[in-house]
Amino acid sequence: MAVTLGIYYITPFLRWERGSYAPDQAVLIDLVNQRAYWFGIEIWPQEVYILTGILILAAIALFFVTSLFGRVWCGYFCPQTVWTDLFVWVERFVQGDRNARKKLQEGPWSFEKIYKIFFTHSIWLVIAWCTAGSFVLYFNDAPTLVKSFFEFKVSPTVLCFIGGLTFGTYLMAGFAREQVCTYMCPYARFQSAMFDKDTLIIGYDEKRGEPRGKHKQGDSWENKGHCIDCTACVQVCPVGIDIRDGLQMECIACGLCVDACDDIMEKISLPKGLIRYDTLNHMRSGNSEDKSKFHFLRPRTVYYAAVLSIVGGLMLYSLINRSQLELHVLHDRNPLFVQLSDGDIRNGYIFKILNKTHEHKTYTISVEGLEDARIDVKAAGEASYKNIYVPANSVGTYHVFVSSNTEPSSPIDITVSLQDNEKSITAEYETVFITRSEK
């Protein structure tokens, strides 16, 4: 829990050097400038497929882990569970354990009750506010925003987001809690599809426990299961199920029933593990000691692992081969072509040049597939076809004219390419040169 929370709160403050033309925040989703940064990875809106890939990867990894170890995501990483645990911990810290809390709740509105409840909710709100604040920091430069907070210069948009998220966190972790897991979480609904008999789950050893019943000290265990029906497991369950009825959708694998049952087993001097974290196969065979039979290699896991590595490989490939320069060319629609006074035909194109490096660059344009092509650029300043300037980390737009004395014929397929003036980085785009049609 501490690790997960730590990662969440500290990440926005991590720095990552990217030169003077890009932000130096390690993880940043810059909505205004349409960039996403994740350490060395940078995503432009044109590359949103990388984001899709990451999501697919995450989903398959989740399936993979689920089929192996059950619902570990919920207990260790799910923000809902982690924040709920944090809020419960605060509650316990201020108001005492379950019995004390119950007593307080049922008691009259004494000074103690008021101040304890007030105190709990204040801490909750502070945590919620920090959470919301941290979330917003992922979308803004963290130190700047934090500073402007203390100077009371934050924009209303940011305040709205923080307000909404604070309220959301307060509501979800303070009140809704595990109901979210039961009623709102889609993962809970479809996770059973990834389970099989070799998946690690929280389970009750029916073979050993049944028939359950009250047991007095000194009685023999003859014809009796080890479950003494103390209902400790039911009492501690945050989602309110009886684990002895078998695995249920609501179970978030928190393991509280395991701990509760082990405590009881210890008290009545029986071996622990009546409720335990194990596979269904082991439970059925009644062989709780034999851990060696855990099957890692199953068609399901092999399948997930294969998909995982294929998607991962594709992602890696696309990241490694990510071009630092991209060119998009739009042919003018109106007019399609212009005849010049010497009879030449001229076509106009809009060049969109994506300079993804963190340096200002100049490029040279060339055209292939067209004889006697002359390139002319109309733009501010000193721009020419040999000197196309695009600032660092931005998109340059140029109106480029290509003329040729080509005779009337059908449209000619041409390839325009862009060459970095210093490095051997190029980009190409296939387009068309339109001439007057033959009459």
Binding site: P335, V338, L340, S341, R346, A379, A380, G381
Partner: protein, 312 residues
């Protein structure tokens, strides 16, 4: 049944569901009485209250001659004005810079250049596209503004003057010239016109005909005053270059004959009084950069002396 139950009818409970019915019955079908959920009812009541408030504050009730004004004084026109004012304010910042800048400065500043080009494009579509076409590609009698052929000059100043005062427009400073109608006004005989037409067609690569020499003679005496000895035209009088491949009214023999016979003269309005100075300048830059704009004469600049390196 006791007497009490006459005034207080017994609740009719549906046997299957155990829910009270409304007592309505149609051919043995009874209606269950399931009350609305409380939260739904509350939302409904709040909506009713809200709608009353809305009717009072916002324009709502249709009355003869429009609708009630509402106490809040809201109209969509006001909202539009507010939004427009915001946009104009943002525009003004650029406009202020644009106003003080020379063409040269604008051409060197990417921001001002983009501002001028965008402004010019909008003004063009609003005012000029009717004749010149939305892509400035022109048409018969309406010059294509994308090409490099200019009747009256393609430098920034030339374009601006044309825009300002028009061509053959109702303006004292307008550009004006008139080609004689050689056939209509009986200045030349029909065969003479045909000879000169054939000659003119050779200027841009047409085949020579028998009447070539006659045509040349007539051209030199009748046309060269404006179109020049070699037929290259003159921008001071807006006489087209007859040697290039661009024909404003068509380059086939019949069209050229028609031109010589009854003369042609296009009219463009003077925009100086209709558009403000800034819009005209934006239009000038837009048209100049459409592809055919001609550079201003290169002024002899003093050689640039490299500045001595500043030492900190």
């Amino acid at each position: 049944m006791s007497n009490d139950n006459i005034n207080k009818p017994e609740k009719d409970i549906d046997e299957v569901t155990g829910i009270e019915t409304t007592g309505h019955e149609w051919d043995g079908l009874k209606e269950l009485n399931n009350p609305l959920p409380r939260w739904w009812l509350w939302v409904f009541l709040i909506c009713v209250l809200w709608s009353v408030w809305y009717f009072v504050v916002y324009p709502a009730w249709p009355v003869p001659g429009g609708a009630t004004k509402g106490t809040g004084g809201y109209t969509q026109f006001k909202e539009l004005e507010k939004n427009q004012a915001e946009i104009l304010q943002r525009q003004q910042a650029y406009l202020n810079r644009f106003e003080g800048a020379s063409y040269d400065e604008i051409m060197k500043d990417p921001e001002l250049y983009a501002f001028a080009f965008a402004g010019g494009a909008t003004a063009f579509k609003e005012n000029c596209a009717t004749c010149h076409g939305s892509g400035a590609q022109g048409g018969k009698g309406y010059p294509n503004l994308n090409d490099d052929d200019w009747l009256w000059g393609g430098k920034l100043a030339d374009i601006n003057q044309t825009l300002q005062f028009g061509i053959r427009a109702n303006n004292d400073d307008t550009r004006i010239s008139q080609m004689p109608a050689f056939g209509k006004d009986d200045l030349l005989k029909r065969e003479e016109i045909e000879a000169v037409v054939d000659y003119v067609l050779t200027l841009s690569g047409g085949a020579k005909k028998k009447s070539h020499d006659q045509g040349m003679r007539i051209f030199k005496s009748q046309c060269a005053a404006c179109h020049g000895e070699e037929g290259k035209g003159s921008r001071t009088v807006g006489a087209p270059n007859l040697t290039d491949k661009i024909w404003l009214y068509g380059g086939d023999r019949a069209s050229v004959f028609q031109t010589v016979y009854s003369a042609r003269a296009g009219v463009m309005p003077a925009w100086g009084k209709r558009l403000d100075e800034n819009t005209l300048r934006q239009l000038t830059i837009y048209l100049h950069q459409l592809g055919g704009g001609e550079p201003d004469e290169v002024q002899e600049e003093a050689p640039v002396v490299p500045e001595p390196e500043q030492k900190p």
